[in-house]
Symmetry: C2
Subunit: 315 residues, 2 copies
């Protein structure tokens, strides 16, 4: 039996997990992400933490097949990071650097892509060959699996489906600098923004008008309770989701679409809201895609990162 590590590198913490090659997670812990000095300490900190763990558990180097790591930015198939703004990183080969720090072979991927691989392997996409993963959180991220392999893209920015253009007439810019991206409507932030616009532009009475700080959860809760304005906002959100996921599925034709991120806590309501719009907008031959919810939560990235290493270095 061989073992390995899956690392989910985020802007505030690094999640590290120790796996059996079967995919069983044996242990997990977190260390802080130190972004000072251009993030130069991050990889040495990870290497040290893994070494300490191995020493503490008396794990021999020979038992380790390798390391996988998910990174919050574009990474190409060779491991070249192309700027991780949140970490202060520029352009360098993370696989080579982390390998020389640890002595173990390293495979790297973009964090959303890697989380997709985790859900594909052990979560909502288990058993399929082709999958689209979308995370609806502060932003909208994505990951695509084609015949069992992650779509990295030529420049490590495959599956940036949060930045498809959904509304070419948008006047407010997206964080990415473009106008009318999916993320501006379908992220938690985007849903709140749509709700505020809707409340301002209509007279519909709504419990949402009484709230000091409007959250995405408030809108779903009000919708469940039958609040008309909330339902109108959610309907617009479902329509946008159905259209953009329809376009992604006409392109990729997956068996399964897995929805994760904070907004996915809305659960089956979300899937039943999106489905009729998806059927309306998707190409008929790609319409059989099944919608499921992500099931690994915060561990998806660690699972996917280890799977990257397993695919690259396992037997």
């Amino acid at each position: 039996m061989k073992y390995g590590f899956g690392i989910d590198l985020g802007g505030t913490t690094v999640k590290i997990a120790y796996f059996e090659e079967t995919g069983k997670m044996l242990d997990k812990w977190e260390i802080p992400t130190v972004t000072e000095n251009g993030g130069s300490q991050i990889l040495p900190d990870i290497a040290r933490s893994i070494r300490q763990y191995m020493d503490g558990k008396h794990i021999a180097d020979s038992g380790i097949l390798g390391l996988g790591i998910g990174v919050p930015g574009p990474v190409n198939a060779k491991g070249v990071v192309n700027k991780c703004v949140n970490l202060g990183w520029g352009v360098f080969n993370i696989s080579e650097t982390l390998q020389s720090l640890t002595g173990f072979p390293v495979k790297a991927g973009n964090d959303a892509n890697v989380a997709a691989l985790g859900e594909f392997w052990k979560g909502g996409g288990q058993g399929c060959d082709n999958m689209v993963f979308v995370t609806l959180g502060t932003g909208v991220g994505g990951g695509i699996v084609v015949e069992g392999n992650l779509l990295h893209g030529a420049h490590g920015s495959g599956a940036e489906i949060g930045h498809l253009v959904l509304n070419r007439d948008e006047t407010v810019p997206c964080n990415c600098g473009k106008y009318g991206c999916v993320e501006q409507y379908c992220s938690a932030t985007g849903i709140v923004r749509m709700a505020k616009r809707h409340l301002e532009s209509t007279e519909t009475p709504s419990v949402l008008r009484d709230l000091k700080e409007l959250t995405c959860k408030d809108i779903f809760d009000a919708g469940k309770a039958g609040d008309k304005a909330a339902l109108e906002v959610l309907e617009q959100f479902y329509a946008y989701m159905g259209e953009f996921l329809g376009n992604v599925c006409s392109t990729v034709n997956p068996e399964v679409v897995v929805i994760g991120g904070g907004v996915s806590k809305a659960g089956d309501m979300l899937i039943s809201g999106i489905t009729p719009y998806f059927k309306k907008y998707v190409f008929h031959a790609a319409s059989a895609a099944k919608f499921t919810l992500a099931s690994l939560g915060n561990d998806a990235g660690a699972y996917g990162a280890f799977k990257l290493a397993l695919d690259a270095f396992g037997k």
Copy 2:
């Protein structure tokens, strides 16, 4: 040296080509596609034509590595055809059927996908790993290559990018039954349709108003000559192309976008028209994609079909 056949099965003719494993096309010919009786004669006709050719040239069965075939409809990775309306075909395994008729192993793919593979291998996409191919003809077809492999999709309908929704407010249905598909604006037919709409809704003087039958070529020719109405129509077309290809590239992140089909005869004018809109709409990390024109013309399908067989059965 081994050899094989690449077959491009169309609604009116079947193009068959004989290849060296190096990719050199040694011979090519056509036979009619007989669609009577639910297209039941098509595969026997192909098998007979190949056998006659081999007999005439004294080619031994042992020298043949296999056959590849591109089909005008969805085909999954296992070779199951899911209805080819133009051929009268239902659901069956074309690889198994053609293998039992010829005695050679067969690999099948969708025609647009297979043409994409041909351009990837020997045409406009040579030397890249990730490619998006779009054909602008009577309709709009597509093909996607991810790390050297064709994206077939779970149901054989990957890369149906002619049916992404570009205009959710469209009131006229697309041939596929949906509303506002790319094909309704960016095919040769779609460009003519946009021009007619534009001429009807404006007073702009135009040479196009004097034509009895308006063709796509007329519009490009008038545009080249500086006709204002034609230029306005082309500008709208370029904007749509840039937006939809921007979305496809934000999803797939290819090195190269290859444009083929009749409309691509407009040449560099097309690429320079699309590029600024593409840059506007694509996600920045995927914006380095290079645009090229297809270079294999009608042979792309045969090249790609043989490449399918070579990848599956070659050494």
